[in-house]
Amino acid sequence: MSRSRSLAMATVIVVIALALLPLVAEKFTVQFATRILIMAIFAMSLNLLVGHAGLVSLGHAAFFGIAGYCLALSSPQYQSANFWASLPLAMMAAGALALVIGVLVLRTGGIYFIMATLAFAQMLHFLLHDTGIAGGSDGMYIYVRPDAGLFGWRPFDLEKFGDFYFVVLALFLIVFGFIGVLRASLFGRVIAGIRVNEQRMRSLGFATFRYKLACFVLAGMLAGLAGYLAAAQFGVVNPDMLGWHLSGAVLMMVILGGMGTLAGPVIGAAAMLLLELGLQSLPMAGDVNLGKHWQLPMGIAIVLVALHLPKGIARLLRRGRADD
């Protein structure tokens, strides 16, 4: 009992600290924290597939990117899109795309599933990269962030970095809570059952394909949420948003943090981005500028984690407890 109480305490402290951040931190720190929260949403959405359903996708950036493009395309130049209209639109678009791709890729399994998801994401990447659609390889700029006006009421201004941070934090907490509830629900337990033994779940009478598809679409929509926020934060979209590098990086965050745990993807996203930031400011070592070559120590860190923490960082924090 004391353990779960201390865990709840820790969660409350983290949330309060996050809520107070803009009051004490500089603009750069707040913006960096915003970036971590957005990537954490993205990683949590992928973890729904990888950790909970056992479906390893290497094309998850497709949904992230498509939602970003939705925002760019729905923002008239030098004017803003409406937040309340464009966000659901972007998530629906990502969900619709996930439905189409999901129907096709869920026919395969294992490594073939990894490669099939990669194939569809790469197709979209090249479609945007090689044709003139939405600016081609240069992408598009979003000059003004979405406007949060709703019938004359304007609860927050996304152009202010503090407001933007709070909106992202709120959405992050909603997604975190939603996934927590989902895990405990019948849907979540069926998905977990499918990961362990799909045949058994099917023989119990569950239409496993539909559950997997629903999970795929849901993960796509949440990735879309992250992609929309990322596009709004950076004010630019380009085909790399859908590329395999990003899909790979977010998969690394999930594995690094700990698959299948609630906090794992969040820890993975934060660890990866903080490590990146820290390593980029490394000094010279002899003739070698370590800051410029930050990916070298990053690679070494990843190798060491893979060797010594095969279950990710999150599981390290709760060592001694039986696997769930």
Binding site: L104, A119, A306
Partner: protein, 298 residues
């Protein structure tokens, strides 16, 4: 497209396909026998190309650079296997993906530190720099034919090694049942080390012979890696025959996708969408046969 142009593109397609097979063959062999997903396989292709550049500058000739490069890449393969890869057998596929992803970053940065970030050209050996005239205006470079020939020779050697020698028999047995082979008194770890070094050497060789045509540039390994995974998946993971068929298919689709014009109304499908064509092919194959052309259903 007249016949001479078609012939040139066909030769290009086969040459590209054979080169891909040299790399993808090692990738699928390492997976099929050792059960290891090696994302860093493309990095060895890149290392091969950079070795070709450095060594041919040093020796003044590609002819000496290639054997020296093979020796160095075998040493690299043995070292890596001993240092990292042998620890991967007991880990799951996702940990392998994570570790070899880390390895990509390490190799890429070491490359940047050792060789810099510029694009380099590797001079062709004089003996192979001629062209064969096909028509009055079109000719085909001898060097590309030589690439194809080298790939064919090494593919045949690989086939002979795996299918016809005692060592190959042990390797095939080791892929089927590791414990059984071990209990027969065969040093399976040594066998795996050999297979890994062989895969590394083949990928590096591909990089070395391709270097004068493709030039040498940062990130070239990852570009090739993704295409090789496509090849392996189309062919069926673990199947060397599948890798050959897949590689030739990709060679054809990629090469002709870039030169054929195809329009629907005002919209040019090809070559505008040539970059997609390879992935489209993979998607179609997977929908038709979810375990690849020659893969075993799991």
């Amino acid at each position: 497209m007249d016949f001479a142009t078609f012939l040139i593109q066909l030769l290009n397609a086969v040459q590209y396909g054979l080169l891909l097979f040299l790399i993808a063959g090692g990738l699928t062999l390492i997976f099929g026998i050792m059960g290891i997903i090696n994302l860093a396989h493309g990095s060895f292709y890149m290392v091969g190309a950079y070795l070709a550049w450095s060594l041919s500058m040093h020796f003044g000739s590609l002819w000496l650079a290639i054997p020296a490069g093979i020796v160095l890449s075998v040493i690299l393969g043995l070292l890596l296997e001993w240092l990292l890869i042998r620890r991967l057998y007991r880990l799951g596929h996702l940990q392998q993906v994570l570790l070899t992803y880390g390895l990509i970053l390490i190799v890429e940065e070491l490359r940047s530190i050792v060789w810099g970030d510029e694009v380099h050209g590797v001079p062709m050996p004089e003996l192979l720099s001629a062209s064969i005239p096909l028509t009055d205006t079109l000719s085909y470079p001898v060097y590309r034919l030589w690439i194809s020939a080298v790939c064919v020779v090494f593919s045949l050697l690989l086939y002979f090694l795996i299918q016809r020698t005692r060592l190959g028999m042990m390797i095939r047995a080791g892929a089927t049942n590791r414990e059984m082979v071990q209990s027969l008194g065969i040093d399976i770890d040594l066998l795996y080390r050999f297979v890994f070094a062989l895969g590394v050497a083949l990928a590096a060789l591909a990089g070395m012979i391709a270097a004068p045509v493709s030039s040498v540039f940062p990130g070239m390994g990852n570009q090739v890696l993704i295409v090789c995974f496509v090849v392996v998946v189309i062919g069926g993971i673990g199947s060397v025959k599948g890798a050959l068929v897949g590689a030739l298919l990709i060679g054809l689709v990629d090469t002709f996708g870039k030169v054929v014009e195809l329009k629907i109304g005002d919209f040019r499908l090809l070559p505008e969408l040539a970059g997609m064509s390879v992935y489209l092919l993979m998607a179609v194959v997977l929908l038709w046969r979810p375990a690849g052309l020659f893969g075993k259903r799991s």
